[in-house]
Symmetry: C2
Subunit: 309 residues, 2 copies
């Protein structure tokens, strides 16, 4: 292969019951990378596009670049002359795993260029290493779904032990991204390091029930269990009109509503497309009435994850 | 129906990742109840047998009696002349849900006598009301599996929202009951009301993975996730030779090892009968070498739960 183009999608992490451990991929937006065997310089950026113009050009300081480099190192191909184009279509700080998508695209691009020496799942540690650069933490709840598609549970972030969770037919998500800035550092700082035993019992009960609901396509159980008594109460004040938007979603029959990643994007999981569309229409009108700019859109769960285009 | 006999099995609660929310039924031991339309006195005990000799004869102060009475009240048959025999084959304070089995048998007996006016699952609140008498708390993680069989997740104890969890073919359990007394009050007192966020993340990750492992018969995932970083470290010192017995079980290929309920019974979940038998043989020999009396036995997961005999 002389050149390939890949795509890695955005993702929703911290899915209600699954703080730090549960995420799913969405269809759009996402990042594209084109990689070419060309010239005589080791891996470097030929060009950065879109939001990508704001990321470091230094390969080792760039999530996509570092993830790509890690794969090259593992293949013993670090010195291969390569140029990369990053087409970054997602803003940073939306809560939709922007840096994770770049890292996944970087790892994926090299693997495709070399005709898949690694299985897709084995790219996970390389992509997490890239993501760590942006995030400062070693965790995979955005990276794993962006890479593998579907909904992914990270049993243990340290060892990257993950399991793909069955996604019932018909599941859609409404995404509401108000154009406000929530600093990840703020979003982290408000979360207490201490929880009560009762919260633990309730969160594990809901987590178990949510996973059981997914595997048995039991939408009513998903609805009852898609709750977060721990993180949401501490973070919701960082997001304007959170309670109002949640009320709009739940009264329109969403299965659940929560903060995507560290916010400010919010997501409503829905049992079908129509419910998701209605929620988006209402949320869009509501935010417009508050003179707050926003992107509001519907997505299916992206079952494929990162792919060659 | 003039008379019926029912059986309700013992159960294992607090299954590692599922403190207060996850339990499963075993085949034996269990309690039997015979109930008869006879005489002219409302529900009363004709006789108490086995360990049952030590329980209150007053119907309203007895878990089996109270559960039976609650069902009779719901049927408007409180004054029907009835006599009950309780054959109690399980000691108290073993950690195998002895009082729960009695409560389930009581509710079940009345329902069978009246030709099943309630669906089995709808007996749950009556049995929990009986169990509450012995336990002082409204929870269903022993009652639900004893009644319904299999493995049951209680999403929420308050509303008794439960879900039956798929049990993979071949799952067996080794049970080790050393004849020592662990007071439930002691067992409760040692558990801290505070946990760390990290413990919450790790416990929800393991719970999600365990449930996913059960639904997909993924024994290796079950093995990796059947862990308890929260309760076990606080309680294990109450049980003699806990660490040694755990080492015996895990080195003999158990999927996981933990305290059953509030102890002192310990259980090892196993992927087949042979592993469970080997663990029992080794544990029996070990406890004998320590001059500690014990009951050590193998069970399948009891998929039927309470039944008419």
């Amino acid at each position: 292969m002389e050149a390939v183009k890949v795509f890695a999608p955005a993702s929703v992490a911290n899915v209600a019951v699954g703080y730090d451990v549960l995420g799913f991929a969405i269809e759009q937006p996402g990042d594209n990378i084109i990689i070419r065997k060309k010239g005589n310089k080791p891996l470097h950026f030929h060009s950065l596009h879109g939001v990508g113009k704001r990321v470091p050009r230094n390969i080792e300081k760039n999530t996509a670049g570092l993830a790509a480099l890690k794969v090259l190192e593992a293949l013993g191909e670090k010195d291969m002359p390569l140029e990369m184009e990053l087409h970054k279509n997602m803003r940073f700080g939306t809560g939709l795993g922007s840096s994770a998508a770049s890292a996944v695209a970087g790892a994926m691009a090299v693997n495709e260029l070399f005709d898949r020496p690694f299985e897709k799942k084995d790219l996970l540690p390389f992509a997490v290493a890239g993501e760590e650069l942006a995030d400062g933490a070693w965790h995979a709840d955005n990276v794993a779904p962006s890479l593998l598609g579907g909904m992914v549970l990270i049993r243990d972030n340290k060892t990257l032990d993950f399991k793909k969770i069955h996604v019932p037919q018909g599941l859609y998500v409404a995404l509401i991204f108000p154009h406000v800035q929530v600093l990840t550092s703020d979003s982290r700082a408000v979360v207490s390091e201490i929880v009560s035993l009762q919260q633990l019992v309730s969160q594990t009960g809901n987590m178990g029930a949510f996973i059981a609901g997914m595997f048995t396509s039991d939408f009513e159980l998903i609805r009852r269990s898609l709750k977060d008594h721990v993180i949401e109460p501490q973070r919701k004040h960082l997001i304007p009109y959170y309670e109002e938007l949640k009320e709009i979603a739940l009264s329109s029959d969403a299965l659940g509503f929560n903060i995507s990643g560290a916010g400010p994007t919010m997501f409503a999981l829905c049992a079908n497309n129509l419910v998701a569309e209605i929620i988006c229409d209402k949320a869009r009108a509501f935010l417009k009435s508050k003179y707050l700019e926003s992107d509001v859109f519907v997505s299916r769960i992206n079952m494929e994850g990162a792919c060659r285009c």
